[in-house]
C-alpha cells in the first residue's frame, strides 16, 4: 500500500488511539500517535507535514488550545477534530480557527478518511504556496539597497530618465541596476517583474 500522507493522532485514550492508528495504517497512512497535545508540541517542527487528528477533550492542553499553540509555534498543520459529544460552541470555535472538520468519534471510517484526505490536500497546497513564496523572498533578498530603490520606481512605472533624476544618479547607472535586477530575479519584462514582486509580497 502506498503512503497516503502523515497523520498525527492525538488522543488520551490508549485504546482508542491504538484502534485509530490501526485503521489509518491499514488504510495506508503514516501514523504518529501522541497521548497529549504537549507531546506533539515537543516533537513537531515547522517542517512537519501532514495533518492532525485530535480529540477535542484532552488533558492539559485541549484540542482547541493545541491548535492555537501549534500555530503560534509556526507549525501550520491542518486539524480534524474528533469528539465524544461535540457541542456547537466548540465546533464553531474549531472551524473558525481553521479546522478542516469536526467529527463524532463514532463517525464511519469513510467520513474520517475523507476529512483526513481533505486536510492533507490542504496541507500540500499550503506547503507548496509557502515554499514558492520562500524561494521568491530568497531571490529578492539578493538585491542591494540601491537595486531595491530602483526596483520600487520601476514597478511604479517610472521611466529611466525620471528615476535618474529622482535618485540623482546617471541614467546609464539606472540601466545597469535594472539589468542586475532582472538577471538576479530571472525575469525578462517589467510586467513579469511587477507580478513577481507582488507575489513575493515585498512591495506594499
Amino acid at each position: 500500500m502506498s503512503e497516503r500522507g502523515v497523520v498525527h493522532v492525538v488522543d488520551d485514550d490508549a485504546s482508542f488511539r491504538t484502534a485509530l492508528r490501526r485503521v489509518l495504517m491499514a488504510a495506508g497512512f503514516e501514523v504518529h500517535a501522541f497521548a497529549s497535545g504537549t507531546e506533539l508540541l515537543a516533537r513537531a517542527s515547522p517542517e512537519e507535514c501532514g495533518c492532525v487528528l485530535a480529540d477535542l477533550q484532552l488533558p492539559e492542553l485541549n484540542g482547541l488550545e493545541l491548535q492555537q499553540e501549534l500555530f503560534r509555534a509556526g507549525i501550520a498543520l491542518p486539524f480534524v477534530f474528533l469528539t465524544g459529544h461535540g457541542d456547537v460552541p466548540s465546533a464553531v470555535c474549531a472551524m473558525r480557527q481553521g479546522a478542516v472538520d469536526f467529527l463524532d468519534k463514532c463517525a464511519p471510517q469513510e467520513t474520517v478518511i475523507a476529512a483526513i484526505e481533505r486536510a492533507l490536500q490542504r496541507d500540500a497546497t499550503e506547503r507548496a504556496a509557502r515554499a514558492r513564496q520562500q524561494r521568491l523572498s530568497r531571490r529578492f533578498a539578493t538585491l542591494t539597497a540601491r537595486e531595491w530603490e530602483v526596483l520600487r520606481h520601476v514597478v511604479n512605472g517610472r521611466m529611466n530618465k525620471q528615476i535618474s533624476a529622482e535618485l540623482g544618479i546617471h541614467e546609464r547607472t539606472v540601466k545597469l541596476h535594472r539589468t542586475a535586477i532582472t538577471s538576479k530575479l530571472g525575469v525578462r519584462s517589467v510586467a513579469e517583474l511587477t507580478t513577481l514582486a507582488r507575489e513575493a509580497g515585498v512591495l506594499g
Partner: protein
C-alpha cells in the same frame, strides 16, 4: 301587580344576584376588598329599591316619611360602599376627603333617625299622586324642607369630587389599562351619581316632585361595575393559569435537565470504548480485505474489541452504582402517607392538565420498608408518566389511579394505572431500556432508574396493560417487620 313593583323588584333581584356572586368571590380571596364593597353596594341597592317602592305606594304622610327614612339608611350604605369600591378598586382617591364624606353622611344618618319625619323634611303635610309608568304613585305634596337639607346635597357633591379626583389620579399615570379602568369606573359611578344630585336639586329648587328613581341609577352603576370586575377576574384567571403552566414547565424542565446531564455524561463515557470498538472493527475489515491478512494483528484487534466492550459495560455498571450509591435509608413507612405526599406534589400539575388523581388504599395496609425520598421519586415518576400518557389521549375521562394492596410473601403491591391510550405489547417490553422514550422531551431514564430503585428495595417493577385502555405500572415492596421473602 303594578309595573313599578315588577320593575323595582327585578332591579332588587338583579342587584342581590350580582351582590351574592361577588360576595362569594370575596370569600374566595379576601384580600380583594373591592369585591366586598361591590357586594355591600348591591345589597344596599336592593334596600333602596324596597324603600322607593314603599314611598311610591304609601297611602299616608307618616308612612311616606317612614320609607324616606329607610331609603336614607340604604342610600348611606350604598354611597359609602360605592366610594370605598372606587378607593379599593382604583387604588386612588384622597383619604381625608373620603373620611369627611363618611363623617357628613353618618351625621345625616344619625340625624335622620333622631328627628321626625326625617333629616330632609321638617314637615310633610300632604301627599300628591303623580302619573309614573302608567300608574299613580305618591310623592310629597306639601311640606317644608329642613334648612340643613343642604348637608346631604353637599356631601353628594363631595362624593362627585372624590370620584372625579380618584379617576383623574389614575388617568395621569398614562398607562392604557389604568386609563381604561378610570374611564369605566368614572362613567359607571360618576354619571349616575351626578344624575342623582341633579334630580335632588330639581326637587329642592323648583319644588317639582318627581318619583324616586335612585334605584335604576344604582343598578346601572352595578351592571357597569360587575362587567368591570368580571373582566378583572377573567384576566386574573388567565394569568394564574399561565403561571401554573409555567411552574409545571419549570418543574418538568428541571427533571429533564437532571436526566439530561446524566445521559450526557453517560454518552461521553461510552463514546471512547464504542469509538475504539468501531475503529478496531474497521481496521480488522481492512486487514481481511487485504491480500495477506495478518492473523497476529487480527487477534490483537479482537482482544481489544473484547476489552473495550467490557469497559463500556463497566461504565453502565458505574452509572447504576451511582444511582444506587445514595445510601438508602430504610425505615418503616406508612405507604398511604407517602402516596398522599406525592399526590400533593403533583396536584397543581394534574389540575392544570385536567387529570383526576385517585388513591385507593385499603384500611389497615401494613407499613412498608423503604427509603421515603427514593420511593417518592418512583411514585412521582410513575404518576407523571401516567399523566403524560393521558395528555396524548382525547378521552373525556382523564385519570390516574394509585392503588395499594397486601401481596403474598410479606409484600405490598402498588399499582399506578392511567386512562391513556395504551401502547402495543412490544413497546411495553422496551420501557425499561435506558434512553427508550416515547416522549418528545423525554430522556428515557425515568423508568430504568425507577426499576433500579425498586430492585434496591428488594422489589420488582413491571408494566402491563391496564384493565381499561391505559397502562398499569406495578411494583412490590417488603412489608416492614414482615417475613423476608
Amino acid at each position: 301587580m303594578s309595573l313599578v313593583t315588577v320593575l323595582w323588584s327585578m332591579e332588587a333581584a338583579a342587584a342581590l344576584t350580582l351582590g351574592a356572586s361577588y360576595g362569594l368571590v370575596w370569600l374566595a380571596d379576601r384580600r380583594n376588598l373591592a369585591n366586598l364593597m361591590f357586594c355591600l353596594l348591591a345589597v344596599a341597592v336592593a334596600g333602596v329599591a324596597r324603600a322607593e317602592v314603599g314611598m311610591m305606594h304609601s297611602a299616608t304622610v307618616a308612612e311616606h316619611g317612614e320609607w324616606i327614612r329607610w331609603a336614607q339608611l340604604s342610600l348611606f350604605v350604598a354611597l359609602i360602599a360605592q366610594l370605598l369600591f372606587v378607593h379599593y378598586y382604583l387604588g386612588t382617591g384622597r383619604l381625608w376627603l373620603l373620611w369627611t364624606i363618611i363623617a357628613a353622611c353618618t351625621a345625616v344618618l344619625i340625624g335622620n333617625f333622631l328627628v321626625y319625619p326625617n333629616f330632609n323634611w321638617l314637615q310633610i303635610s300632604t301627599l300628591r299622586h303623580v302619573s309614573f309608568l302608567g300608574e299613580q304613585v305618591s310623592v310629597v305634596g306639601e311640606g317644608r324642607l329642613r334648612p340643613w337639607q343642604w348637608l346631604p346635597a353637599a356631601s353628594r357633591m363631595l362624593m362627585v369630587a372624590f370620584v372625579a379626583d380618584a379617576v383623574a389620579q389614575l388617568w395621569r399615570t398614562r398607562r392604557p389599562e389604568a386609563r381604561r379602568k378610570a374611564l369605566v369606573v368614572g362613567c359607571g359611578i360618576g354619571i349616575p351619581l351626578v344624575s342623582a344630585v341633579a334630580l335632588g336639586q330639581i326637587k329642592v329648587l323648583y319644588g317639582v316632585q318627581v318619583p324616586p328613581v335612585q334605584t335604576p341609577l344604582f343598578v346601572a352603576t352595578l351592571v357597569v361595575m360587575a362587567f368591570e370586575l368580571s373582566r378583572g377576574l377573567f384576566l386574573n384567571q388567565r394569568a394564574r393559569s399561565e403561571l401554573e403552566e409555567l411552574r409545571s414547565e419549570v418543574a418538568r424542565a428541571g427533571r429533564v435537565t437532571a436526566l439530561g446531564q446524566l445521559a450526557s455524561s453517560l454518552a461521553h463515557e461510552l463514546s471512547q470504548p464504542l469509538g475504539a470498538i468501531l475503529r478496531n472493527a474497521e481496521a480488522a475489515e481492512l486487514h481481511l480485505n487485504g491480500p495477506a491478512p495478518d492473523l497476529e494483528e487480527l487477534r490483537a484487534i479482537v482482544a481489544d474489541i473484547r476489552r473495550d466492550d467490557r469497559r463500556a459495560g463497566e461504565v453502565i455498571d458505574q452509572m447504576r452504582a451511582l444511582i444506587k450509591r445514595r445510601t438508602l435509608e430504610m425505615q418503616s413507612l406508612p405507604l398511604d402517607e407517602v402516596v398522599h405526599d406525592v399526590i400533593s406534589m403533583v396536584r397543581s400539575d394534574a389540575v392544570a392538565r385536567h387529570v383526576a388523581l385517585y388513591c385507593v388504599m385499603p384500611a389497615g395496609l401494613p407499613p412498608v420498608k423503604g427509603d421515603r425520598v427514593h420511593l417518592s421519586q418512583v411514585l412521582l415518576n410513575l404518576i407523571i408518566n401516567g399523566m403524560d400518557a393521558i395528555q396524548a389521549s382525547r378521552a373525556n375521562t382523564k385519570r390516574v389511579v394509585i392503588e395499594a394492596q397486601p401481596h403474598g410473601h410479606g409484600q405490598v403491591e402498588v399499582a399506578v394505572t392511567d386512562s391513556g391510550p395504551g401502547v402495543p405489547q412490544e413497546i411495553i417490553g422496551r420501557f425499561f431500556d435506558p434512553f427508550f422514550t416515547t416522549k418528545a422531551s423525554g430522556m428515557g431514564m425515568g423508568l430504568p432508574i425507577s426499576r433500579t430503585i425498586i430492585e434496591a428495595h428488594g422489589g420488582r417493577l413491571w408494566a402491563e396493560r391496564g384493565r381499561g385502555s391505559g397502562l398499569t405500572f406495578r411494583f412490590t415492596l417488603q412489608q416492614a417487620g414482615g417475613r423476608v421473602s
